[in-house]
């Protein structure tokens, strides 16, 4: 679907500044039609975030900075599969559908917690508002806690463990082929960052075929397909004033235009 930049992501105050940089004619960007992100999670190439803090030594930067972070991490691992009946791609899709506060304001594992809640609500495991009600009751407020809903897990089972699959047909592209990334995507469950859409690159490597997150996340089939590491120049992505560097990104077969259109 082609999305214009007045779509739902406009609601995300933090993302709004980002979208402006992607508008047609924005400085340093090639004009290739309207390209903007489909989700709050699509941060690649965005401006306005300020400096990255120098990393502390690793022994001063543990995986969990507070006990609740570890609990939220472990709850999520269990929620995404066993409890909600969903999968890893559905978890990533849930992250991308969070409102901006739920994505940015609760810290990293709070984001995981919020995506877990969304998955568990959608699978009918917990009622909307049940987590908030319990937390408020635990804090001493008098709050009515909703009854448990009827489970509504997706009709889904993986065909194998993990994400890698065998695909019989040969890859469409070979290492060294020039390719052009599509600009239109089917759904907001896509894994195609806005900053590469419409741009030309070269296949650097053919990676093992994977299940296709865009359908897998929505329980519409694994749709396994070839995945390419595609290499881009910074000037192709950001224009002639870009800092000189190259970049590779893994792109699913669906995200590359037909060969005849790639020239």
């Amino acid at each position: 679907m082609r999305r214009d930049c007045t779509g739902p992501t406009r609601r995300h105050a933090r993302a709004a500044a980002v979208i402006d940089t992607r508008a047609p004619g924005a400085p340093g960007l090639r004009q290739k039609g309207v390209v903007c992100m489909d989700s709050v999670a699509d941060l690649g190439g965005a401006t306005g975030w300020g400096k990255v803090s120098p990393p502390p030594p690793q022994d001063q930067d543990p995986p969990f900075h507070d006990a609740w972070e570890g609990r939220a991490f472990a709850l999520t691992l269990l929620a995404m599969g066993r409890v909600s009946g969903q999968n890893l791609d559905a978890f990533r899709y849930a992250l991308g559908r969070l409102d901006s506060k739920s994505y940015f304001d609760d810290d990293y594992y709070g984001r995981w917690l919020n995506a877990s809640e969304l998955m568990l609500v959608e699978s009918g495991i917990i009622a909307p508002g049940a987590v908030d009600a319990r937390a408020r009751a635990n804090a001493g407020e008098s709050v009515e806690q909703p009854a448990d809903p009827e489970p509504n897990k997706p009709d889904y089972a993986p065909t194998a463990a993990g994400s890698l699959r065998q695909v019989e047909e040969a890859p469409r592209f070979a290492v060294g082929d020039a390719v052009t990334v599509v600009t239109d995507v089917e759904s907001d469950a896509n894994k195609l960052p806005a900053y590469v859409r419409g741009h030309r690159g070269v296949v650097e490597a053919i990676q093992p075929a994977h299940v296709f997150p865009e359908t897998h996340a929505r329980f519409l089939g694994e749709n396994a397909q070839h995945v390419y590491s595609v290499r881009f120049t910074s000037t192709e992505l950001y224009g002639s004033d870009a800092e000189p560097f190259e970049l590779t990104i893994e792109l699913f077969d669906n995200y590359l235009q037909d060969k005849e259109n790639a020239a």
């Binding site: 690649g44 990393p55 609740w68 448990d148």
Partner: protein, 206 residues
Amino acid sequence: MSTALNPDEHLDGSGNRISPALRTEALEQLLTERGLVDPNVMDKFIATYETAVGPLNGAKVVAKAWTDPEYKARLLAEGTAAIKELGFAGPQGEHIVVVENSDSVHNVVVCTLCSCYPWPVLGLPPAWYKDPAYRARVVREPRKVLSEMGCEVGDDVEIIVRDSSAEVRWLVLPQQPAGTEGFSEEELIPLITRDALVGVAHISAP
């Protein structure tokens, strides 16, 4: 499946946002009361990534590659299999590709869409890797970002950014520091930092 949580949710009776710590406790209660999750299983997951699976694994891989040219060749050709030789495999490590930094090339890894990271060799990602500023900017001005992070890369060195947008996980084989030739694996391992294995730091001789 397009419903999202309401941004005005997660407020207490006074209108303050309920902390994720309190909400995590609440969700754990709701699920354990019904037997849907086992807190002991949660404890095991947490302990695994606090103690067993972390950057020491990646340091062992790098130290072996620096001291064993045949292993290094296997590691660069078939990263997942070579890493598994040392016993490291598991979630977020289905297909690991190892790229070598040199005098002419500097690789740096990011996941712009989330925070995909090679858990079996590096454990869970550090805070800076999950920082929106890192995710947004390292694919646009990597040399500047690396400099801010204390990693200077010379103008004559080509930077290649690796955006992990699917299930491929990237591990950087950093340059062995001058003066450590002839060191044993055991002597090298303490020098090897996580940040160098993601490509945001160089490794220094002791």
